[in-house]
């Protein structure tokens, strides 16, 4: 390679060539195959140097003891020096990939102001239909997914899925998607022109789905919603209380593949066989492959009515100023989702707090914009200090937001320690084209410690559920039964036909298939009605009624059923010498099951 070619090649790599030199180099390359070969060798050298450079850094590899695809090399031969060398190469390759990937985080679709800025550019939000105030097409305006309407006058929402939702005056309605909406307050009439289409309305953990049948849904009060079917039939569905996305990190059940960058490793799990560990150094993280969408409110991370992020972590974060340790981050401009430790200027926090170390939960809400619930790690009011939560021991974390209550909260080790209430009806706007990261973000932030059992629910876990999950986590028991890919997250509990008027209650106990906790901690199912309990796991039903418990649920299975349980009362017949049967209300754990008719 002569000096002139070398000079031009270097100039090309450094972006310093002018138009004339670029043209000269091009002509040269096109006319001389040997020159072209030398030039390509130079380019390849440039690309490979990054990888080799990583080898100059000290790499400590901790061998995982599980069947992770990344660790196959470890198990083929028990030659540890070779294995570590192979693992090093993988880690190194991943590191360099991360550096190439992340040092310069600009994108074509997204403009980044500078390398030091976090993404702030807006990404288009998916349109889900048109809003016609007072039914007037002349005033029609497009509706973005995740927006809401609090209309004083009647209005029509015409969806992209060809449903028509008429909002009565005073209705607060969330336009979650083109196929479903969220009724917070008021009344809606739904009609669907094409029977091939469908539309659903969610009310908390219930939804009404229609394949062409017109219906009216009206909120009566905070806990009751009335359904009237005008023709045909609609289904009342109960939410399957399972996560939408779940990473047990055991090597075979993750919702989406993850790819390591830098010194991010699979390690033995705190729950189950696997977890992921990140070393806190810039660039180290796992990236999730897939789950993205073209616009905000699309892809696997598009949440609308509610969200819970749950995980078990062990952290050694030092809490120092400007040291951020993300557990999860997806950076779709301001429509980001974030959970992690921070000690920054608290630019986005709601409510405001003094500067200092926090556990931060950030999402974008339609009316408030992006904000973070920054829980101070100050040791006050039951909150942990940095030393307490980053003590290298496992801690259960749950961050929730529910647009039906407006409450955003953070729980640690089963206790909700910090919360803030937004106005009811603010939908989440999340999801989009950017890759999600676990344990780090690009080349800027990296978690110090281990993450396990990362789960994303499209509903808010209750305080009781969080407490139980944390108890099971503390015992090392897995509490999550992953949703099968074919499942929608909803199961039909009742079909309502023309002429029926149904009142849905938030936690119905009227059909008392109840569950008693035994002294051993297991549950016994005791059906006291002819309406059997739907088994959320097997989709079968439990046999109805009987003087003795028909089935016993073991500790493991209790975890699977636990999300379906709530506290209520049942009427029990207590025999006394004076009376054959004295009915008494007894506090009981009951299954969320059916609706009651009026």
């Amino acid at each position: 390679m002569n000096d002139e070619l070398c000079r031009l090649a270097d100039g090309y790599l450094e972006g310093n060539l002018g138009e004339e030199e670029t043209l000269r180099l091009q002509n040269w390359l096109q006319s001389d195959p040997d020159i072209k070969r030398q030039f390509v060798a130079h380019l390849v050298l440039h690309g490979q140097l990054g990888v080799i450079a990583e080898e100059l850094r000290t790499v400590h590899v901790k061998a995982a003891q599980e069947d992770s695809p990344l660790d196959i090399a470890f198990q083929r031969k028990k030659d540890w020096s070779r294995s570590i060398r192979i693992a090093s190469a993988v880690a190194i390759a991943a590191s360099v990939f991360a550096i190439v990937f992340s040092l310069y985080p600009t994108g074509r679709a997204l403009h980044v102001q500078s390398e030091t800025d976090y993404e702030s550019a807006s990404i288009p939000i998916r349109t889900v239909g048109f809003y016609l105030p007072d039914g007037s097409s002349s005033r029609a305006r497009p509706v973005a997914a995740g927006s809401n309407a609090s209309s004083k006058e009647s209005a029509i929402f015409s969806t992209a899925s060809r449903a028509k939702v008429q909002l009565a005056p005073g209705t607060l309605f969330g336009f979650a998607d083109d196929a479903f909406g969220l009724l917070y307050r008021g009344s809606v009439d739904v009609s669907i022109d094409d029977p091939a289409d469908h539309y659903a309305i969610e009310v908390g953990n219930r939804r009404i789905i229609s394949h062409g049948a017109p219906f009216t849904l009206t909120t009566l009060d905070a806990e009751r919603t009335q359904l009237t079917v005008h023709d045909g039939s609609v289904d009342i569905q109960t939410r399957l209380l399972q996560p939408r996305l779940y990473w047990p990190f055991d090597g075979h059940r993750d919702s989406l593949p993850i790819v390591p960058f830098g010194q991010a490793l699979r390690v033995p799990g705190m729950i189950g066989s696997g977890a992921v560990q990140v070393d806190g150094k810039r660039g180290s993280r796992f990236e999730i492959v897939g789950g993205t969408g073209d616009t905000v409110s699309s892809g696997a991370f598009a949440f609308s009515g509610a969200i819970t992020i749950e995980c078990v972590i062990s952290s050694t974060w030092d809490g120092s100023k400007n040291n951020q340790d993300p557990i999860f981050r997806k950076e779709d401009g301001p429509n980001r989702i974030l959970l992690g430790f921070q000690n920054d200027d608290n630019d986005f926090e709601i409510p405001t707090i003094p500067e200092g170390p926090v556990l931060s939960f950030g999402i974008f809400l339609q009316s408030s914009g992006y904000s973070e619930l920054d829980m101070p790690l100050d040791g006050e009011e039951g909150r942990p200090t940095v030393a307490q939560i980053a003590d290298g021991k496992p801690h259960h974390i749950a961050a929730t937001y529910d647009s039906f209550t407006g409450v955003k909260s953070i729980a640690v080790d089963g206790l909700v320690l910090y919360s803030y209430r937004f106005p009811v009806g603010q939908c989440i706007q999340s999801g989009g084209p950017r890759a999600a990261s676990i344990g780090g973000w690009r080349n800027r932030e990296s978690f110090s410690g281990t993450i396990d059992e990362l789960a994303f629910y499209d509903y808010a876990l209750t305080a009781e559920q969080i407490a139980m999950h944390a108890q099971l986590a503390a015992k090392g028991i897995r509490w999550i039964q992953p949703r099968a890919s074919s499942e929608s997250g909803w199961v039909t509990s009742r079909t309502v036909t023309h002429g029926e008027v149904i009142v849905l209650r938030d936690s119905t106990t009227s059909h008392v298939t109840h569950i008693q906790r035994t002294e051993r901690g297991a549950y016994n199912l005791v059906s006291t009605s002819h309406n059997p309990l739907l088994d959320p796991v097997s989709r079968g039903t439990f046999a109805a009624f009987g003087p003795n418990p028909r089935r016993s649920i073991t500790d493991y299975n209790a975890a699977r059923y636990e999300p379906f349980l709530t506290n209520g009362t049942t009427s029990r017949c207590l025999r006394t010498p004076e009376s054959d049967c004295q009915h008494t209300d007894v506090p009981t754990t009951v299954a969320l099951s059916e609706t009651s008719a009026i």
Binding site: Q48, L49, I52, L56, A93, I99, T106, D254, V259
Partner: protein, 177 residues
């Protein structure tokens, strides 16, 4: 878990294994053809996602590396097509040729990779530090210049000199073998 889920999980695992094995080559290929690290980073990201999305089309009797290179090549060309208005860009035909040449080189790059490692071992400590900082730690030339108490041009010249030395070293080893 149903069969469909099992299949999908198995496919994801297979993808992850193959992708992890080859990601360096893919990244090296993209970065070789797109000098700007920012653009290269974006194309690498697009490529990784494109690979995952189209993995169901991957024919198992084909070599994964070659298949992945094909997709990476497509992403690189797409990138340059979008930059076509820029007069400082090579013609598409030339980029196509360069991509072919680079794929041919990287497809059999194991010896070359090892040779490069050994050649770096022969550099001075200061040169190795430069490589480590500039490529490994992402330190900019300006920062290195500050550390060295010299101008940025001196750093660029040093980088140029190191690359030239390494290229000669690799070529020399190739001749020896």
């Amino acid at each position: 878990m149903n069969h469909k889920t099992l299949d999908r999980t198995a496919i994801s695992e297979e993808f992850l294994r193959l992708y992890t094995r080859d990601q360096f080559r893919i990244a090296g290929f993209v970065r070789a053809l797109i000098a700007d690290p920012a653009d290269a980073g974006d194309v690498i990201q697009e490529t990784s996602l494109a690979l995952f999305r189209s993995f169901h089309q991957y024919e198992r009797n084909r070599d994964f590396t070659n298949w992945a290179f094909g997709i990476a090549r497509h992403q690189v060309l797409k990138h340059w097509r979008l930059k076509r208005r820029d007069k400082l860009v090579f013609s598409e035909a030339l980029i196509d040729d360069l991509a072919d040449e680079a794929i041919a080189m990287l497809s059999t790059d194991q010896d070359r990779f090892q040779a490069l490692r050994e050649c770096i071992g022969r550099l001075t400590a200061r040169q190795r530090d430069l490589i480590k900082d500039f490529y490994g730690n992402g330190v900019t030339a300006a920062t290195v210049a500050e550390q060295w108490n010299c101008s940025v041009h001196v750093v660029y010249n040093a980088l140029r000199s190191v690359r030239k030395t390494l290229q000669r070293c690799i070529d020399g080893r190739s001749l020896e073998t």
